[in-house]
């Protein structure tokens, strides 16, 4: 299934946060109470009420002048999402057939949200305090199924946000990387191998955000999830064994 993908060209992003606000508006998410902590980034982090967050980081360039990086963070909609392996209920997290969007359902209420969150190499999933429901970027599947662009893509004024068939976006990303290298020799792209959100960065990913680039190998999964994958058949065997034992006695 080819599905869809985002290409986010941070070399064009002006950090205006129209995407962050559009996401709130489309999903009718409440605003949270914030305070200025000495910078522009607000809210501080993703949450059950914030699916898209522009992250700001300041550094110095080679010429000693400031550089200011903007990273519009969101769920990567992995091709093989580690979070999907965590819930006991295999239908708690589903993948949309048409788009490949990784979607959270209300069945996650019964699951261990901490484990779900920790399984994500990008630190995306968030739970609602007290209830255990979880939420994140939905790829605006409702819009996409109706021939519209995701809200953040539609609103972006500079063309930093792009969306389309995954193959198209892969090609666009590679094309833009080649162009970007003349201005930004250290330019890199992330995610082409294993997710549906590709970032073009002018500099090393760690300068943008701790989780800009995954700490997993391409098409790989992290250790904890790997363990869980192995543990599942054993757990099920063990349950079966208990049942059989019960029947037998």
């Amino acid at each position: 299934m080819e599905g869809k993908a985002f290409f986010i060209d941070t070399t064009l992003c002006i950090g205006c946060r129209a995407c962050q606000i559009a996401c709130k508006q489309w999903n009718q998410l409440p605003a949270t109470k914030t305070e200025n902590r000495g910078g522009f980034q607000n809210p501080e982090d993703l949450s059950f009420y914030t699916y898209k967050l522009v992250r700001f980081s300041e550094h110095r360039g080679d010429d000693g002048k400031p550089v200011w990086y903007f990273f519009p963070d969101q769920c990567r909609h992995c091709l093989e999402p580690p979070c999907k392996e965590i819930p006991e209920d295999p239908d708690a997290i589903i993948i949309d057939q048409l788009t490949g969007a990784v979607l959270y359902t209300d069945k996650l209420k019964k699951e261990n949200s901490q484990d779900v969150r920790e399984s994500c190499p990008y630190n995306i999933p968030r739970a609602e305090k007290g209830t255990g429901y979880m939420a994140k970027c939905t790829m605006c599947v409702d819009r996409v199924h109706n021939g519209l662009l995701p809200a953040c893509v539609k609103t972006c004024p500079t063309g930093a946000m792009n969306f389309g068939d995954r193959g198209e976006m892969v090609a666009l990303t590679k094309e833009r990387l080649a162009e970007a290298k003349s201005k930004f020799p250290n330019a890199v792209v992330t995610g082409l191998e294993d997710v549906r959100v590709f970032y073009l960065l002018a500099d090393e990913p760690s300068k943008y955000h701790e989780y800009a680039h995954a700490t997993i190998t391409p098409m790989g999964i992290d250790r904890k999830t790997a363990l869980k994958r192995i543990a599942r058949p054993l757990k099920e065997l063990s349950r079966e064994w208990q049942m059989l034992k019960g029947l037998a006695s």
Binding site: C16, A31, T34, N36, G39, N42, W68
Partner: protein, 805 residues
């Protein structure tokens, strides 16, 4: 703008200075990005490193208030390195004009200065004229008395050393900017400037823009695609309000507001200088047609030749007096103003020296605030430091509709008038402004009719007032009135028009009372072809003129001064971005700035039917020497009213010798005062807008940008022991605010005249009404001193102290 938003994509080099385009006009960045994709360079000069700076190919900083020094250095560079477009300068600007010997400049002052009145006698800045009364010229630009040589001499003082010591910009950065930008002087290359309040809100605001205009003329960037002098307006329809002249000194279409100097219509209409050069179109000579048509719009059939078309019924300014924003609140503070309509504005937070404004409001008998949300103006009486028991002002709040709740037009920075439709009903009692005005006028007229002792009722009772349909304000009726009508059957040239027909363009307006037009500039916007502002056909190929999308003034000319985009034969300087070109019989492309043929025939002989390109200037040439401004014909660097230095390195004049300064006890200024050692500037951010009257009430926007903050360098923070995220006090001679400290190397200390000078910056989007912990207006700090031409306050450069709470 002389050009328009989409045209930015045609530029080879974009200078963003005096504005923060990515921050405050993010959609414009789409076009900047287009230009950069095609290889254009983006240069950004700003005291702080902003969201715009993050995208620039080259960024450098300068101390707020030193733009003329910076740009003066560029003029020197352009001349000394022969980067100017010689043919353009010699043919289209007044660089070749010979200056009379009454013009002079010495030690910061131009000739003709009267230190008592603090004004210049501009008659001294005159040109030598030949026997025919036409300015003498040396097109080789060599004559020592010509404008070009005077220009060269004037800016010879702006060497790199001096400019760097004034601006704090390193010399190598100055050179880099000068080199990059002046490349656009080459034929076929275009450079553009995107500026905004960072240039206008200074005591030298107009001269900031004049300096850039000179650069653009030297480089041949006026009238061409991707060039021009482009103001990013700060409000979506402020261009509309400017065009319809909701400012004290002008009438719709930029006609001058009459003063008592011209008691009769004839006196007013004959005041414009005439040109003796038959090749100068001197377009303002048509003013009588526009003025009389305007009066006919106001007074209808009651305006007749015998009563000077109602001219005596129009208010006149007292000669020599000004009635600007700063003057209004000065008078209000002194108690001479009894009542005030704060219509769709929030002066208690938006005007400089907000404490003076807030106290002034307390002197009123009554205040009407037409607005959509509660704000610091209508609630001034319960604000910080106010005791309601001592305030007698009666306050009325009239809720009004927002832009999507009514039909009408807005005019954007690019002069495009775009029709808008009603999308929703206004809530509760909220009404469109137009309906509020209709009711107000009806009542005022009724009171005048009824009162036998009414003082001078003529202006009210004689008004023609037919702007409603079924009792409701009708924007189409107003739009048509603005365009104008034929008031009787008339034949002009080979065309015949019937009474009641809409006038097709201002070329058909008459001075004999047979036409009306409430704004000659907008004549052509609503014609027998329909509502031009409502058109929505996009251009599919081309340079982005989009001639069938909406409508722009004048007469849908998208790039003004476009006759300068071609050589004297009518051939484009840049064939790849043709604006207009002569096809042998007529101009094709954009609406030409006058249909007259090119200056030369194909065989090189002069064509007597031509006109010079800069048709709004009396002599037809663009002004490098500009004798019309209050503070001088050449821009000169002066320090802001409150500055951190004791002397101006360029002359003995520290500040603008003509800048208006106010004198009540609320008008305190402290310059070079150790109690206020840091330069402060004010700015905007993407998330909020103006005083935040609309945006502070939007939860998503407030979530993203919740509180007033002050940006400062790590060096300054260290000096004051301030931590990032800590609330601090920023105070000036006029007031103080509490703000969260953003400690960032996006501000760096400046080396000014050998000393370290720190600068800080504060956004002006907050007010005490809401949210409670959001902070108050940055205008509590800003000075009530203004530009001598416009009286815009100097909100961009003043002195403060910053300290821990």
């Amino acid at each position: 703008m002389t050009n328009h938003w989409i045209d930015l994509k045609n530029s080879d080099c974009i200078l963003i200075m005096g504005s923060n385009a990515a921050e405050n006009h993010p959609v414009s960045f789409k076009w900047v990005t287009e230009a950069m994709k095609k290889g254009a360079k983006l240069i950004n000069v700003d005291p702080r490193f902003t969201r715009t700076s993050s995208k620039a190919d080259f960024y450098t900083s300068l101390r707020s208030g030193t733009d003329i020094a910076f740009l003066g250095g560029m003029i020197k560079y352009i001349i000394e390195n022969n980067k100017y477009f010689t043919e353009y300068v010699a043919e289209y600007t007044n660089a070749p004009f010979i200056l009379s010997d009454t013009y002079g400049f010495k030690d910061g002052l131009f000739s003709g200065y009267d230190s008592t009145t603090r004004k210049y006698d501009k008659g001294m800045w005159a040109f030598d004229k030949d026997a025919n009364g036409v300015p003498s010229k040396d097109r080789s630009l060599q004559d020592p008395r010509c404008v070009f040589q005077h220009l060269k001499q004037h800016y010879s003082r702006y060497d790199l050393d001096t400019v760097s010591a004034i601006t704090g910009t390193p010399e190598e950065d100055l050179l880099k900017v000068y080199e990059l930008y002046s490349e656009t002087g080459a034929k076929g290359k275009a450079g553009t400037i995107m500026y905004a309040m960072g240039w206008t809100q200074h005591t030298v605001g107009v001269q900031n823009i004049r300096t850039m205009s000179i650069i653009q003329l030297l480089l041949g960037n006026m009238g061409v695609a991707g060039g021009g002098v482009n103001a990013l307006r700060g409000e979506s329809n402020v261009q509309g309000s400017t065009d319809h002249c909701i400012l004290y000194h002008i009438w719709p279409g930029y006609l001058a507001n009459p003063s008592t100097t011209w008691p009769t219509l004839d006196a007013y209409l004959s005041r414009r200088p005439k040109s003796n050069d038959p090749l100068s179109a001197n377009w303002w000579q048509n003013e009588p047609k526009y003025m009389v048509s305007l009066l006919k719009s106001y007074f209808g059939t009651r305006a007749r030749p015998e009563n000077e078309f109602g001219y005596p019924w129009m208010p006149k300014l007292d000669a020599g007096k000004t009635y600007s924003w700063l003057d209004i609140f000065d008078e209000m503070y002194k108690g001479t103003i009894k009542g005030f309509f704060a219509w769709g504005q929030n002066p208690a937070a938006s005007g400089a020296n907000a404490n003076k404004t807030r106290r002034a409001l307390a002197k009123l008998d009554w205040l009407v605030n037409v607005n959509i949300f509660d704000n610091e103006t209508c609630s001034f009486w319960k604000g910080p430091g106010m005791d309601p028991k001592t305030i007698k002002t009666e306050v009325f709040m009239l809720p009004c509709a927002v832009s999507v709740e009514k039909e009408g037009s807005i005019t954007n920075s690019g002069r495009w008038m775009q029709w808008r439709y009603k999308a929703a009903e206004p809530p509760g009692d909220a009404r469109p402004d137009g309906d509020i005005i209709m009711d107000l006028f009806k009542k005022v007229r009724y009171l005048y009719r009824r009162d036998a002792n009414a003082v001078f009722p003529d202006p009210i009772l004689n008004l023609k007032w037919d702007y409603t349909t079924s009792g409701a304000f009708d924007p189409h009726k107003v739009a048509k009135e603005i365009n104008g009508y034929f008031l009787k059957d008339v034949t002009i040239g080979d065309k015949t028009f019937k009474r009641g027909e809409l006038v097709p363009s201002f070329a058909f307006l008459q001075a004999d009372g047979s036409t009306s037009s409430a704004n000659w500039l907008y004549c052509n916007s609503y014609t027998s072809k329909g509502n031009m502002a409502a058109r929505r056909t996009r251009e599919r190929t081309g340079i982005g003129l989009n001639p069938e999308w909406a409508w722009c003034w004048p007469v849908n000319r998208r790039i003004i001064y476009n006759r300068a985009s071609v050589d004297t034969y009518g051939k484009p300087w840049d064939p790849e971005h043709t604006v207009i070109q002569w096809d042998g019989a007529k101009w094709v492309g954009d609406v030409p700035d006058g249909g007259w043929p090119p200056m030369l025939n194909p065989d090189g002989t002069p064509n007597p039917k031509t006109k010079y390109p800069f048709i709004m200037k009396e002599e037809g040439y663009a002004n490098i020497f500009g004798p019309g401004r209050e503070d001088g014909p050449f821009p000169e660097h002066y320090e802001p009213l409150e500055c951190p230095v004791e002397k101006n390195l360029l002359s003995g004049q520290l500040i603008n010798p003509t800048a208006p300064i106010y004198g009540t006890e609320m008008d305190a200024y402290r310059t070079c005062d150790p109690r206020y050692p840091f330069v402060c500037t004010t700015f905007r951010v993407s998330e909020h807008w103006q005083t935040g009257v609309m945006t502070r009430w939007q939860p998503w926007l407030l979530e993203a940008q919740p509180q007033l903050f002050v940006e400062m360098s790590p060096e300054l923070a260290s000096l004051r022991g301030i931590q990032k995220g800590e609330k601090v006090i920023v105070e000036s001679a006029r007031g103080k605010i509490e703000a969260v400290a953003i400690v960032t190397h996006r501000f760096r200390p400046f080396k000014i005249q050998g000393n370290v000078i720190h600068e800080v910056g504060v956004p002006w989007h907050y007010g005490w009404v809401y949210p409670k912990d959001g902070g108050d207006s940055a205008n509590l700090l800003t000075p009530s001193a203004g530009d001598p031409n416009t009286r815009i306050p100097e909100s961009k450069a003043f002195m403060v102290n910053v300290r821990k709470m």
